[in-house]
Symmetry: C2
């Protein structure tokens, strides 16, 4: 009996791994949320599907409730899949689910996925590293837990490129903070709905990006690598 924490990739259903598909095909139950592309569920031909994401007007399951469902299912079935968008450990609360399961003696295995943070810029031709331009990049959540007393995200990151996941909701506040450390001319690229048919790319800079209309979900890439991408567009 194993619970598999599986990354479904950034959106395009073909950006899932072979390993993930093989496990989905033999799954007894798949526990998923809104971030996973629903087309991927078609591989789980023999599985019960349990949705734990948010639906309009409905109760949103807390992390404790999700952990409880994982424990119940993990004790009942041979192959339980917990499917998450991107990679299960990049801001997916996969670590908490892992610990909850391990504390109850349930076997857990981990199938990495293509994280949106890298997969989305790569798919449009925006290299997050580039010789002479960027030898480091920082991936950070734009949506830090607002109940936190002491903020852990401080925006003084010194890496050449900054990539913000869930970057839209608090973009204005976050950009204001980042401009304490980076010039307003620093190039910015925002990619809405990356790797999906309705993908949209916006190029701007730190000083102007908050004047643009941006829809969620979107990824924000900050740094001179955006210039490399612009060169590729010409």
């Amino acid at each position: 009996m194993v619970v598999y924490l599986i990354g479904a990739g950034p959106g395009d259903p073909d950006l899932i791994t072979l390993k993930a598909v093989k496990i989905l095909k033999k799954a007894d139950v798949v526990i998923y949320d809104r971030l996973a592309n629903e087309e991927i569920l078609a591989y789980a031909t023999d599985a019960e599907l349990i949705y734990v994401g948010k639906k309009a007007g409905e109760h949103y399951k807390s992390q404790d409730e999700i952990n409880q469902i994982l424990l119940e299912q993990g004790k009942k079935h041979n192959v339980v899949v917990r499917l998450k968008g991107g990679d299960p450990f990049v801001f997916g609360r996969g670590g908490e689910e892992m610990l909850a399961l391990i504390n109850e003696g349930i076997n857990v295995e981990f199938i990495p996925g293509v994280t949106s943070a890298i997969g989305v810029p790569t798919s449009v031709g925006l290299p997050v590293t580039h010789r002479g331009v960027a030898t480091s990049f920082t991936i950070v959540t734009g949506h830090e837990d607002p109940t936190k007393k002491e903020k852990q995200v401080k925006w003084d990151y010194t890496a050449d490129t900054i990539i913000i996941l869930m970057g839209v909701g608090r973009l204005k506040d976050n950009v204001k903070e980042i401009m304490k450390y980076r010039d307003s001319e620093t190039p910015v690229c925002v990619i809405e709905n990356g790797t999906l048919p309705n993908e949209r790319v916006v190029i701007s800079n730190l000083g102007d990006i908050t004047k643009k209309k941006i829809n969620t979900p979107a990824l924000v890439i900050i740094g001179n690598v955006v210039k490399v991408y612009k060169k590729a567009l010409k």
Copy 2:
């Protein structure tokens, strides 16, 4: 006529994406180097295989020579694959190859892969982010171009987790630099040959890690997320 820059994933041949396999199957030619798992080449049933990596005692192809091969092949064939380990744009010099091709008017497309930097820690159960522990992580090369006059890698990264790719060769020098900014007790995890049968995990801290015997290739993960992993091991 298209050249596809494709990420082959971190090592385990099942950690390649469906999209990559689909394109390999129709490839006329595959240009690859030592980082790609050779089992993956079996998907390219109809392709000529061109190896551009290093072999003992043989001439190592320069980036200019590789670009030249890509241009020649890109002008000759319908489906050219440039296969790279991990993701093509994470320290893979994919950006340079992209620009060389685009400058000659050749169509290029990009298929992201699971980068070792995230896929390797995820696959062992080490979450690179974790609620209350890490809301950001920096990915950096341990092997900065030694001919560079001004070092771009400065090691003063403020993200909660630091992940070093190609981290073995200069580990001693790099750890010395990192200890200017982080305590010697900071947990470190080194993963050799991640996702492969000969994978090996070493847990230590900044003060002691350089006393351990570590073989290349290995990934280095620095920060309190290593404590979460240790908790999962118990």
